[in-house]
Symmetry: D2
Subunit: 150 residues, 4 copies
């Protein structure tokens, strides 16, 4: 069964990340993350070639749709269904400006999420250290069952 | 180079755990936890046989010393050096009572440490879930580098 | 010194949240969160009245700018500088559609952030429990300095 | 209703900490930690005076029992019931040695618990930072309910 991927409106400069994010939302529970990364890279290469043929500039706004199937854990693109709409910045000034603002805001969001991820990874390290120290306490001061015994 | 393991004074009922705990303190950084568990089980079996020969009852207090070496990551007991002192409960009433109290207190300590370990393991689970959810957020809402790309 | 707040392009339905978010980004380090919430509610009420006067429908796209000053920890709006641009959905169909997509995506993002917040609050509860249990351990099994002694 | 506190066998040098620990185990759920600390300090002063009268040296082993009541959130000692048994080191050499070993082991345990406490307090700091950063994310990137609104 084919699924349709649609990027929605997005600046040409940001199409590749948008493709990948949408594909994650559609396929995460069905295929491995690595396959999503591979499949989006493949599609993005094809879109990039079309962009050159269509003379798309990075400030233009585009909307891309394409069908795909999942077969044996892989994503297979139906390139015949690939459709690219292009809205030139000069003609659609406000649309282009609005999408630029969206991009800018996403960059700020990314910085904050990255900072949260760092805190979470430090939490993980500390939690591992805590468990390690409790194991030491168990080894030298109790007769509790140890992890090495499990 | 030989190292001397000494249990200190301990009730006969608790010698096995005491041997293992002391061995962890002496050898943890030099051999694997599994080897410490194996080696203490081996020694404890030998001590158990001696106890039967000596007619030790579990309320008696004992003190055990023995030398060992570490060779290729294994602990090798020098059974010729094994020395077991036995203090009969009837004759050393206060010593026996004092060591019983120590054992009782260790049991209470174990319960508390076990409860702390459970909390720590739950912390670990939650931290893993947090990192998983942040990864999802990154996949669908950012162009940040994903773990699957590393 | 006056600061300019600009919502950027946003659907009329979402102007109030956008005003507040932008104000947090501009003023968080200078005034209390409560004042930001109060001041954005005040401005949003005024914008709402203008919307009714201008006959703005919620699918239209708007862009709002206004100057403000911070005086004694309060935000003071310069309503003379308030400027509202309106782009009617019928005439700016693609702009309206693009901003609707942005709103939709923000809703998904909010759900994920809310889930992460819940995990973090559970982590906090567990960490507090851990510290409580360690204090108990200290009280009954050690002579370490207690929190009640500090 | 009177409750009996008993230190069990303990070296004279460690009686004060033992009194406090046992009192925590008996009274924690009934009175405030501060009152336990105060009441044990009061009793320990009295025991100290008796030790001087009895010429107890710190290597001797003692066993102390005393009754107390809880009245209006305070611990009231019944000094008439105070009983101190003293076992001189010279006469009870093995008992004194055994209790010295117990003390030594408790010191090692304390160091490990202190290290675990430090890790837990760092976990707390990091968790607070995480929640702070998620609140920032909510303020600038979502319309979720903020803590300042609650």
């Amino acid at each position: 069964m084919a699924v349709k991927l649609s990027t929605g409106y997005v600046r040409a400069s940001g199409y590749a990340h948008k493709v990948r994010r949408v594909l994650f939302a559609l396929a995460r529970k069905k295929v491995e993350p690595k396959e999503i990364i591979r499949a989006s890279a493949e599609l993005n290469q094809r879109i990039f070639e079309e962009f050159q043929r269509l003379n798309v500039s990075k400030e233009d706004v585009v909307r891309i749709t394409v069908d795909f199937r999942i077969k044996d854990g892989s994503i297979v693109w139906d390139y015949d269904s690939l459709r690219i709409e292009v809205y030139r910045k000069g003609e659609e000034e406000r649309l282009a400006k609005a999408m630029e603002e969206v991009e800018e805001r996403e960059r700020e969001l990314e910085e904050k999420i990255k900072a949260i991820e760092e805190v979470a990874l430090n939490l993980k390290k500390l939690t591992d250290e805590l468990i390690e120290r409790i194991e030491e306490l168990k080894q030298e001061h109790t007769s509790l069952k140890l992890r090495a015994e499990e």
